[in-house]
């Protein structure tokens, strides 16, 4: 665990109190606390989920980053590791799970499928990346990313958390936390925002 940055506020500490006091900024301690206890949602979609399990297991062990507490319930999770192909049939569930997660929440798209559709992109039941449904923080390429690549992505996520300023975070601002509208399973997957366009098209036909 990295605590180097924690006690360095960016200005000189007088020699006589050095080692006796800890000075830090709210941002630093706030982000340090959050980045060291990112609890992922126990949520596996496809092939990448197996590598995610391998990462959680003994050899790579992401509990070294404070991530061992995988929560089966979205209500207790901070991080959604989208590990695999997002299908249209699964899309409403994924959005619902995301909406149920409390802020602050992060999404990591693990692997090609979750990032951009992957090899199955052309398929009729595949969503071209989970970013078509929910906002994504870190993209990890690879099919599947090896456990070390996944940890690399998680470190990237920690870096992102480090860079956040508590005043600017969306969960302390009003009005930004509207739930994402849940897409519908119609003749195909229907996003709520497409409904007017589809209506228009079917009228013309």
């Amino acid at each position: 665990m990295e605590t180097k940055g924690l006690n360095s506020p960016g200005y000189e500490i007088p020699d006589d109190v050095k080692g006796a006091v800890a000075i830090t900024t709210i941002d630093r301690i706030y982000n340090w606390g959050r980045r060291s206890s990112v609890w992922p949602l126990m949520f596996g979609l496809a092939c990448c989920a197996i590598e995610m399990i391998a990462t959680a297991a003994g050899r790579y062990d992401f509990s070294r980053f404070g991530m061992e507490v995988m929560r089966p319930s979205p209500r207790q999770a901070d991080l959604m590791l989208v590990s695999g192909t997002v299908t249209k049939k699964m899309a409403p569930t994924i959005v619902r799970l995301y909406n149920q997660m409390p802020e602050p929440k992060y999404v990591v798209a693990m692997g090609a499928c979750a990032s951009g559709g992957g090899p199955f992109k052309e398929g009729y039941n595949v969503v071209s990346g989970v970013d078509k449904l929910i906002p994504v923080d870190v993209y990890i390429p690879g099919c599947p990313p090896t456990p070390q690549a996944l940890i690399n992505g998680l470190i990237k996520l920690q870096e992102k958390i480090d860079g956040q300023h508590w005043k600017d975070t969306r969960w302390y601002r009003e009005g930004d936390l509207a739930a994402i509208p849940i897409p519908m399973l119609g003749p195909d997957l229907i996003y709520q925002e497409q409904i007017p366009a589809i209506k228009e098209a079917s009228k013309e036909a």
């Binding site: 559709g117 090899p119 690879g142 099919c143 070390q148």
Partner: protein
């Protein structure tokens, strides 16, 4: 006796628990953060905790390991980039998810296609790391990279500039393959040269026969 099985199982757990500490003592502090320690922890004799302390220590990747593709270029004498790729399009044809887009360059004077790509795009977020492109490239140009630390905050699409890496890098990550391929290339060149020489000799002989 009820509970015997449980105790037996707990014995296994206890042994595993103790193994870590015993192994620690045996290795006298060299168990972690040393190459030998890491190799020991990945060998058949590994006992106890065998966690790889990524990112401080990294598992060495084997030569055949493949991640995303890249393009090899040879370095010219003054450091210029001599792209091995001839834009033949085989990799884009063989690619299972069709994630390679290639544009053949045009000769600026004649506007005729030449053997060089002007655009080479790999949508890494479609790529399935299968390695077929590298397997069937006849010019040893497209190869699979070992670099897996490429997570980013946006979607990953590699263009020509991102893809090009020097031949020295390729030799370093895949020494066996690159030596074999270089030998094969040399052999093909020699065969070609020999064929040419033979043809010339034949032509000369014929010419000599004519003059006789």
């Amino acid at each position: 006796m009820y509970g015997k099985g449980l105790l037996k199982g707990l014995g296994v757990t206890l042994k595993r628990f103790a193994d870590t500490y015993l192994d620690d003592i045996k290795w006298m502090g060299k168990r972690y953060y040393t190459a030998e320690g890491l190799a020991h922890r990945s060998s058949k004799d590994a006992k106890g905790i065998f966690t790889v302390q990524y990112p401080e220590e990294k598992l060495p990747v084997p030569e055949e390991f493949r991640y995303v593709p890249f393009l090899v270029y040879d370095e010219g004498e003054d450091g210029e980039i001599l792209n091995r790729c001839t834009a033949c399009g085989i990799c884009s044809k063989v690619c299972p998810p069709q994630c390679i887009w290639i544009e053949r360059a045009l000769d600026p004077k004649t506007q005729r296609p030449i053997q060089e790509p002007s655009q080479f795009i790999i949508d890494v977020d479609i790529c399935m790391n299968c390695g077929l492109c590298a397997e069937f490239c006849p010019f040893d140009s497209i190869k699979m990279d070992h670099d897996y630390e490429i997570a980013s905050y946006g979607r990953t699409v590699h263009h020509l500039d991102d893809l090009l890496k020097p031949a020295s890098y390729y030799d370093e990550i895949r020494p066996v393959n690159s030596t074999r391929e270089a030998a094969a290339r040399k052999e093909a060149e020699e065969a070609k040269a020999a064929k040419k020489a033979a043809r010339e000799a034949k032509a000369a002989a014929r010419a000599a026969a004519k003059t006789d």
